[in-house]
């Protein structure tokens, strides 16, 4: 399936791309359209674009919304969702100090990648690593 989002991806969209590939659609193909572009390719599912189904809702990140929509009740994913929420949305309560670091790293990763395709591939490693390390904590 094709998934489309705005160019210049950051913490939330890298996380979403990893989640989609790993948990929702292993065959996922990603497309990018310029920020603010209203017309979405017909055969693609948009994400992290204001107003679409897979977007921020109720002050939560798109990653968080993906978990809800797909009923992914996995404690480690819930923790990552909290981090992405704190990195990407204004939160009154913060409980994951790693969130700011994650935000910085993903931003920097996009900066040193030649395009969004490369950034999305490299982002997979970040979230795979995060997931693996958080899994260690689990009893």
């Amino acid at each position: 399936m094709k998934w489309v989002t705005w160019e210049n991806i950051g913490v939330d969209r890298m996380a979403c791309a990893w989640l989609i590939r790993r948990w929702i659609d292993p065959e996922a193909e990603f497309l990018f359209i310029p920020m603010g572009e209203k017309s979405i390719p017909e055969d693609a599912e948009p994400f992290d674009i204001p107003g679409v189904r897979y977007s921020h809702h109720g002050g939560h990140s798109t990653f968080h919304v993906f978990l809800k929509e797909h009923k992914l009740n996995v404690p480690i994913l819930t923790r990552i969702a909290q981090m992405v929420d704190e990195a990407d949305e204004i939160q009154e309560v913060t409980v994951e100090p790693a969130a700011l670091g994650l935000d910085l790293i993903c931003r920097g990763l996009r900066r040193i990648s030649k395009d969004d395709f490369e950034a999305i591939e490299r982002g997979q490693l970040i979230y795979e690593a995060l997931y693996a390390e958080l899994s260690r904590d689990e009893v």
């Binding site: 950051g10 204001p50 107003g51 921020h56 109720g58 002050g59 990407d88 949305e89 204004i90 009154e92």
Partner: protein, 143 residues
Amino acid sequence: MSIWLLLHYKLPSKPSALRVYIWRKLKRVGAILLHEAVWVLPDNPRTAEQVQWLAAEIQEMGGNAYYWRANTILGQHEQSMVQQFNEQVDAVYSDLLKKLEKPRADLQEISKHYQQAASQDFFHSKLGMLVREKLTSKRGEKL
């Protein structure tokens, strides 16, 4: 020249909790409300993202929000904005400096407040640097 993000919005009059919720979020990131009309933040990738999603949330609540990138025409207005942002964080920083002077200062508590202020310190206040230096030099100090 600095680039600013401006946000103004309208929310349904009820429930009034929505207003408080949005207002708190804007305060939390250190936005300044000018003339009870327009919220201002310096433009950077992080604030731009935050404002974008806040506007989307306002829309979702049945409100309406516009946000803009802008620069001031008069240099003095820019200086005045920078000053207002600095004063906002400096108030916190001077309070932290006072706390640091006290014997047995709670360094954990102070560093928590420092981090919060630093996230709103868009123009690198000198006082902030001082708090940071004092905090890091006190680290490991025996009571």
